[in-house]
């Protein structure tokens, strides 16, 4: 039977992440959002505390934590700020393809330096200016040449990008053959011909730097190829199957923050002679926020548990990612309503929750794509 409780080590980890979010993230979140500035001090300290790059295996000097551990930590950090958490989440997104599909040698070379000291980031580049939800349509070209590959093309919406030690880039060696010719290549930060252009003017998650990646005759050695030619898209999708879970966990953190702010406000603010929490219209909003929060968390942990158990987790991870982000967006929206005018201004934290978590419905596979994934399985089972 299932044990729904956290072990003592998981509780310790949760406690550490919670304290870190409260003491280090929450006090600076609004400032970094306002300035769209990178939270260097926070990320540096996160690295020092071991909260960065959790998935790097023990063999490479990392903690080798699983998906559930990541989810527990992620919820706490996102409670502090989803934007700041995305920096950490996106780094693990760059780490995961190597964990799942890299050779031991590749893991040693690329992952060990990430946990060697200081805040070192990774990145993951699949989306392109003209290809987001349809990964088989990527046009970034990888041509075989002496000693390795030559890459040309552009990638878009790459979190951490210019700050990362390396980026896992998905490209095609033959546009006619689609996924069957796709490759996954590790592109180091110092590669010749690689440049970045930062994306400005984001609605939310403004502490998380986002880039366009420009590959202009970038050469990468042969041993930077993950798996074989033809594995590229498969590696990308199997990575996303797992990394959907930390995204869902981040959404759970935001949903919890929305409920926290709304319920505290509602117990202090008075209207018609009593705290507004005593009026059913508001009380029901709080109840619905709680319903969404609990459901989102348990589905997220369920998907995490499947991943850690080595079971196929894509379907349940898709449910968690879609549901949790929609739930958090709805809760953030309701929190704005509960706070009324105060919810609409940036002196109070809830407006930012709404702006931040909107992206959770879009990145790492839009919620529309998640629904396709989910529907496919439901239909397949009905047809069988």
């Amino acid at each position: 039977m299932i044990d729904f409780s956290l072990g003592p080590t998981q509780k310790e980890m949760q406690g550490l992440a919670r304290r870190f979010a409260r003491d280090r993230i929450a006090p600076v979140a609004a400032q970094h959002d306002r300035d769209a500035s990178y939270p260097t001090d926070v990320i540096d300290e996160a690295a020092r505390l071991g909260l960065l790059n959790l998935r790097v295996p023990e063999a490479q000097g990392g903690l080798g934590l699983g998906v559930l551990d990541e989810a527990i930590v992620g919820e706490e950090l996102a409670f502090g700020c989803m934007g700041i958490y995305t920096v950490l989440m996106a780094s693990d997104l760059g780490v995961t393809p190597l964990v799942l599909h890299g050779s031991e040698n590749q893991r040693d070379r690329f992952l060990t330096p990430l946990v060697g000291g200081g805040a070192r980031l990774a990145a993951f580049a699949l989306s392109e200016p003209d290809a987001g939800s349809d990964p088989a349509a990527i046009r970034t070209r990888a041509r075989r040449e002496e000693g390795g590959w030559r890459l040309n093309g552009r990638k878009m919406w790459i979190s951490n990008g210019a700050l990362a030690d390396f980026t896992v880039v998905f490209a095609t060696s033959d546009p006619e053959r689609g996924a069957a010719a796709s490759v996954a290549l590790v592109v180091p930060a110092d590669a010749d011909g690689l440049s970045w252009r930062e994306v400005h003017g984001k609605l939310g998650q403004r502490a998380a730097p986002t880039f366009e990646m420009i590959l202009d005759d970038v050469h990468v050695p042969e041993d930077h190829l993950l798996g074989e030619v033809g594995d590229g898209i498969r590696i990308a999708l199997s990575t996303l199957d797992q990394t959907r879970v930390p995204v869902a966990a981040g959404s759970v953190g935001v949903a919890r923050r929305a409920l926290h702010e709304a319920s505290r406000y509602a117990t202090e603010r008075k209207a018609f002679g009593k705290p507004i929490a005593q009026h059913q219209a508001i009380a029901f909003k709080l109840a619905d926020m709680e319903i969404r929060l609990q459901t989102a968390r348990w589905q997220t942990w369920h998907a995490a548990w499947l991943a850690d158990a080595g079971e196929p987790c894509g379907h349940h991870a898709a449910i968690a990612k879609a549901y949790a982000s929609d739930a958090a967006f709805e809760s953030a929206s309701e929190a704005v309503n509960v706070l009324g005018g105060y919810g609409y201004v940036d002196a109070y934290p809830v407006a930012k929750l709404l702006r931040d978590v909107k992206l959770n419905q879009i990145y790492e596979g839009t919620n529309e794509i998640q629904r396709l994934v989910i529907a496919r399985r439901v239909i397949r089972e009905a047809e069988a």
């Binding site: 003592p8 509780k11 310790e12 980890m13 406690g15 020092r48 071991g50 903690l63």
Partner: protein, 246 residues
């Protein structure tokens, strides 16, 4: 050198307090390693990091759940932990008696304990422990150094500070500003899993005080609130000062 840090598990300050019957009920309580005791764990770690060869043992008296607080101490860097289990919630003097036997067994040179306990609102544990052991004690310590067999420290007196020197073994109680306690890092939390945490029943010790009842402090304040013109606020304050005879 053997350093024992005494810790307690107390409710987080965010907890809301209610009394049901004669028992205190804490809602929304996260239970944490008492912040004052954290200074003690941190100081032990700093002594070791300054070059003193020391084994650091975290010691506590309490119910089984106290293990969580001991794990935090292990995750900060203590080497071993011991729990003397009891559900009795003993008072400071009784707790001191329970701790003394274990401390003597460990042949400790230095004992660090929080200067004030957050749930009892008490500063008695450290001094009572020192007296039970027959050791000298430095309370409300803001800095300390170990020089061979001697402890040098600065502590808060009633007015101002004093510098104290005393032979080891000794008890030191902590004060805010002694140090900045470190967060347990994730790698250390993982490593702590493998460190020894030994639990055994606390020795029998009869208490000399007994709680007969508890009530939540109800202090009704006037709560006259004034907004708007600062002059109105100023005048309201002057009225109160006059009434108070100040």
């Amino acid at each position: 050198m053997k350093i024992v840090t005494v810790i307690r598990r107390v409710p987080d300050a965010e907890a809301r307090v209610r009394v049901e019957g004669d028992d205190v009920v804490l809602t929304g309580a996260a239970w944490v390693l008492d912040g004052m005791d954290e200074y003690g764990v941190e100081e032990a770690l700093r002594l070791r990091e300054s070059g003193i060869d020391a084994e650091i043992v975290a010691l506590a008296v309490g119910p089984d759940a106290t293990e969580e607080a001991l794990r935090t101490a292990l995750a900060m860097g203590a080497d071993r932990a011991r729990l003397l289990t009891t559900d009795a919630a003993p008072d400071p003097l009784t707790t001191a008696r329970m701790l003394a036997a274990a401390i003597q067994e460990e042949e400790a040179d230095l004992v660090l304990v929080g200067g004030k306990q957050a749930d009892w609102d008490s500063a008695a544990l450290g001094p009572a422990l020192a007296e039970t052991l027959g050791w000298p004690v430095a309370d409300w310590t803001t800095s300390l150094a170990v020089d061979g067999d001697t402890l040098q420290c600065v502590h808060d007196a009633d007015v101002g500070n004093e510098a104290l020197a005393m032979p080891l073994p000794a008890v030191v109680t902590t004060q805010q500003g002694l140090n900045d306690p470190r967060y347990p890092t994730l790698p250390n939390i993982m490593k702590a899993k493998r460190k020894e945490l030994r639990a055994e029943p606390a020795p029998d010790a009869s208490a000399s005080v007994r709680t007969v009842s508890r009530t939540v402090e109800q202090r009704e304040r006037r709560r006259t609130l004034i907004e708007g013109d600062p002059r109105e606020g100023a005048h309201a304050i002057v009225s109160l000062l006059r009434e108070a005879g100040a």
